[in-house]
């Protein structure tokens, strides 16, 4: 078990390193540096800025400095938001995204698992067909469609919910629901097929033969086995939630890290882009490792390598 964990951690660290390196060099292939586009800057001012941000040094030195800084949690300063360090920006904006993302994940699990189970248990009947239809739509409709159509129906047309900002609990409803739609639909489908598979297994028959009631059989024997594939989905679901936040935060004007990432691309704020990329990538990779390890723990059949 320990060997497995170490292997995964090393692989993760390598990947993060790779991502950081790629990010760095990609950013620096843009000729002329970040300040070229600023019309109002004279050549001297440009040189001064370049010096301030260490961009006059040879690229490999810049790389070394940057990577060392990253190890210490220092992602340098924002190029466009004067006075803000990238780390501070991340620190102030990430909790917002985390809150919405976390709620979305919880909602997706809380609704997806029961819906999928209900569908499996009522296979072929109207409940199953309805749930399948909803779930298929859920994974087909792009998130921006859900967001915008939802915003239109509930915000503009019916006027029930606010459409931008995050100042009250009501403000959370649309963004969280829109963000959870795809994972919820995915989990529903996953749970349904997993449950159908489990129900047909021999050990369910053994449980009935012992004299257990249908309910006991389901909750004790079926669920425990059926939920395993959902656990493996947790990693990708998290990655989705992070990238989904780009859309949701842009549409609902939410001051989160995703929206920040998108706007810093338009603004060409390189340091913020780099820092955010590395931060998000690290988050995704670390979560995947944790999920993998958790899965190995809860499924006794897996041979640990």
């Amino acid at each position: 078990m320990a060997k497995y964990i170490i292997k995964r951690v090393i692989l993760a660290a390598l990947t993060i390193f790779l991502v950081a390196t790629i990010t760095f060099f990609l950013m620096h292939t843009v000729p002329g540096g970040p300040f070229v586009a600023e019309k109002s800057i004279s050549a001297q001012a440009q040189a001064a800025l370049n010096e301030k941000f260490g961009m006059d040094k040879p690229i490999l030195i810049q790389y070394k400095n940057y990577m060392l800084g990253v190890l210490h949690g220092d992602f340098s300063l924002s190029l466009k938001q004067r006075g803000w360090s990238v780390a501070d920006i991340i620190r102030s904006r990430f909790p917002v995204s985390a809150r919405i993302g976390g709620l979305a994940v919880l909602l997706a699990l809380a609704l997806g698992i029961p819906l999928g189970s209900v569908a499996a248990l009522n296979r072929g009947k109207w409940a199953d067909n309805l749930i399948i239809v909803l779930a298929t739509c859920g994974i087909a409709f792009p998130s921006f469609v859900i967001c915008t159509v939802g915003m239109y129906i509930f915000g503009v047309h019916l006027g029930w919910l606010p459409t931008f900002g995050l100042t009250s609990p009501a403000h959370y409803v649309l963004p969280v629901f829109a963000l959870s739609f795809y994972p919820m639909a995915y989990i529903t489908r996953l749970m349904r097929s997993s449950m159908l598979d489990v129900i047909g297994q021999d050990y369910m028959r053994t449980a009935r033969a012992k004299g257990l009631s249908q309910t006991r059989c389901l909750f004790k024997h079926a669920l425990r086995n059926a939920i395993l594939p959902v656990v493996t989905y947790l990693g990708p679901m998290l990655a989705y939630t992070l990238t989904g936040s780009f859309i949701v935060e842009k549409i609902f004007v939410i001051p989160g890290l995703g929206g920040q990432f998108v706007s810093s691309i338009t603004n060409r704020d390189y340091t913020v882009i780099m820092g955010t990329t590395i931060f998000l990538a690290t988050l995704i990779i670390v979560m995947n490792v944790i999920v993998d390890i958790v899965y190995k723990i809860i499924d006794p059949r897996i041979q640990l390598k």
Binding site: L11, V19, M27, V30, V149
Partner: protein, 347 residues
């Protein structure tokens, strides 16, 4: 000889005569055997949902590829005075022309903020989305299946190394990389597009090229894994061994077996990859990282339409609903294909 009463249950001596071969065979029912493809196509045709989806896909294809050639408006054509027209209304100038006896083709979906006919823009947008989806899926199919079959066929160390690389690529977050790549490629692409013969880069847009490049770099791994596992299973499958035991000429018959089984999976996976690619493209276009203006993509149209959601909802709803329809239809058809080729997998 006892008389035979047809209603009696009494036994008759004749009943105990041995039954003939024909009489016995009439009881044995054999269902006619069908070939693999015919069977699959039959199942597919019976699947109503899949058939409806196929029809929708064809209609959308016509809508995107055929109709624009006959349409009276161009997607970049800005009509003066016809800004933000609601669907099926005319601008003042146009109304005047109609009164004067001219025939002005109606703006079925109204116009946008620059007076461009929205219907044609939505059509072109669909065309871009579909093209991206199909081309990207083709790229993924080619790279993925070559990589996967090589890894699966050779096995051993080659396989191990190749799959380790796949594992690493899998962990890299794709959207982030697309964003970065399109960003970084902008300048070199701009420089390249200035050279003769490369002007098309301008129309298509740097971002779109980046999307294709990233698809070629990252998204094939799923396909590679699937193809590899297919090849591995088939290599060891019993009917291959049986065919060999029967003296089959290895290359021909085994290719026959391998291909028949692989193709089914390949078709299904590719068909399901298309909506996924369209999904990604629309996502990026929505964020402004898709095709270059003025060429529309359903994603960018929706993004622009968002600004006017309060007053001009149709600008947002039309592309949004259309792209949902396209992705949904491809998904449903792909599911139908999968059920048709392998009903055992049906959940």
């Amino acid at each position: 000889m006892t008389k035979k009463n047809p209603l009696s249950l009494q036994l008759n001596v004749d009943d105990f005569l041995p039954a003939t071969e024909d009489e016995r065979q009439s009881l044995v029912q054999l269902r006619p055997s069908v070939s693999f493809w015919k069977d699959a196509m039959r199942r597919l045709r019976k699947n109503k949902v899949a058939m409806v989806s196929l029809v929708i896909i064809l209609v959308v294809m016509i809508f995107a590829f055929v109709i624009p050639s006959f349409y009276p408006y161009q997607y970049e054509q800005q009509i003066k005075g016809a800004v933000y027209l609601s669907p099926m209304t005319y601008s003042v100038d146009e109304q005047a022309k109609i009164d004067a006896g001219e025939h002005v083709f109606p703006h079925i979906l109204g116009t946008d903020n620059l007076g461009r006919d929205y219907a044609i823009r939505v059509m072109m947008g669909s065309r871009i989305s579909l093209l991206v989806g199909i081309i990207a899926s083709a790229i993924i199919l080619v790279i993925g299946s070559i990589y996967g079959s090589v890894a699966g066929y050779f096995g051993g160390l080659t396989d191990l190394i190749m799959m380790r690389i796949v594992d690493i690529i899998y962990t890299v977050p794709d959207i982030l990389l697309i964003v970065l790549l399109s960003f970084a490629l902008r300048a070199p692409m701009d420089a390249l597009s200035a050279k003769p013969g490369f002007q098309w880069i301008q129309t298509v847009g740097v971002n779109l090229i980046s999307i294709f490049i990233v698809f070629a770099l990252l998204y094939w791994v799923g396909m590679a894994r699937i193809v590899r596992s297919q090849v591995l299973t088939l290599k060891q499958s019993e009917y291959v061994t049986a065919a060999r035991a029967l003296g089959a000429n290895s290359s021909r018959i085994i290719k026959h077996h391998l291909l028949t089984n692989c193709i089914g999976t390949l078709i299904v996976t590719t068909t399901l990859q298309i909506p996924s690619s369209i999904f990604t493209e629309s996502f990026l276009s929505f964020l402004g990282m898709g095709v270059a203006i003025p060429m529309p993509s359903l994603g960018s149209l929706a993004s622009d339409g968002l600004n006017g959601i309060n007053s001009y909802p149709y600008l947002l709803l039309a592309p949004a609903l259309l792209i949902s329809l396209i992705i949904l239809s491809f998904n449903l058809f792909g599911d139908g294909l999968r059920d048709a080729f392998d009903p055992k997998m049906k959940s």
